[in-house]
Amino acid sequence: MKKKEPEGYWLQYNPTHKMSEEALALFWAAVKKTRNKSAHADTVYWCSEKAVQELFPNFVPAKKVDFFAVLQNRLSRSHRLGRRPHIVNPPGSLMQFVAEFFCSRKSYEQVAKPIIADMQHEYFEALVHGRLLKARWIHLRDCCALFLSLGIFKLVQVVWNMWRRVRVL
C-alpha cells in the first residue's frame, strides 16, 4: 500500500534570491495561513496545499519536501547557537575518540592521553586570560602534534619489533 503523502509544502524565504514585492507579499500571506504564528525569515514553514493553491495557482513544486532547505535551516540554526553561551564538549573530545578507537591501549595511555590532557590545560588557561585566538591555536597545534606523535609512535613500534625479531634470529 502506498504511503499517503502529507498535503502541503515546506516554504522558506531565501533572502539571497531576488523576489518581487508581489511574490514576497504572497509568500508572507501563505506563511500567515500556516500553523506557525511567529514568522521569521529563516524558518521553514509548513503550508497546507489548499492555501498554496489559493495563493499561487500556477505553482507546481518539483518536490513536496525540500530537504535541502530543511538542512540549510538546521545548519543556520546551529551556527546561530554557536554565538550564544551553551554547553559544548571540551576540546580534544574528538581526538580522544579517534585515538581510543584506532590506537592500542598502551599508545592511548602513554601518548594520546597526556597530549590531550596538556592541551586541555593550556587551552583553559588561555581562555581564563581571555585569549580565544590563542586557545584555538593551541587546539589546532596539539591536534597536529597528536597525529604526528601517533604516526611516529606506530613507526617506532614497527621498527622496534623488527629489530627484536632480527636479534632473536
Partner: protein, 110 residues
C-alpha cells in the same frame, strides 16, 4: 616496566636530554609541556611523549596522573626519574666522559 633481558641499558640522545631535564630537580615532577619548555627548543611536542613512553617502558622514569579536582579537563600526567634511572644515567655519563679521557688520565682517575 623494566626490560632487563634486553642487554645493557642504553639512552638515545633525546632520552638522555629528557633525563637531564628531569634530573635538574630530581624531587620535582614535570609534565610533557614543561619538559618541552625547559628544553629550550631541543624537544618537540610531537616526539616528547613517545620518548617518555619509551623511558617508562625501560623503567627509567615513572608517571602518575595529577589530581586537581578544581581543574577542568583530563588529568595531566606527571613524570619523575626513578632511582634505577638516575643510577643508569649517572653511569652512562661517567662512561661517556671516560671515553674522552686519555689512558693516562683514566689511570689517574682510577
Amino acid at each position: 616496566m623494566k626490560r632487563m633481558d634486553e642487554g645493557p641499558p642504553h639512552l638515545s640522545r633525546k632520552e638522555a636530554l629528557i633525563m637531564e631535564i628531569l634530573l635538574e630537580r630530581p624531587a620535582a615532577e614535570l609534565y610533557g609541556l614543561e619538559l618541552v619548555r625547559n628544553s629550550r627548543k631541543r624537544l618537540k611536542r610531537g616526539t616528547v611523549y613517545v620518548t617518555l613512553g619509551r623511558l617508562e617502558d625501560k623503567g627509567f622514569i615513572e608517571s602518575r596522573e595529577e589530581i586537581q579536582p578544581n581543574m577542568p579537563g583530563m588529568p595531566r600526567r606527571l613524570y619523575k626519574v626513578t632511582g634505577y634511572g638516575q643510577r643508569v644515567y649517572e653511569l652512562l655519563q661517567q662512561a661517556r666522559e671516560a671515553r674522552h679521557l686519555t689512558p693516562a688520565q683514566l689511570a689517574g682517575a682510577i
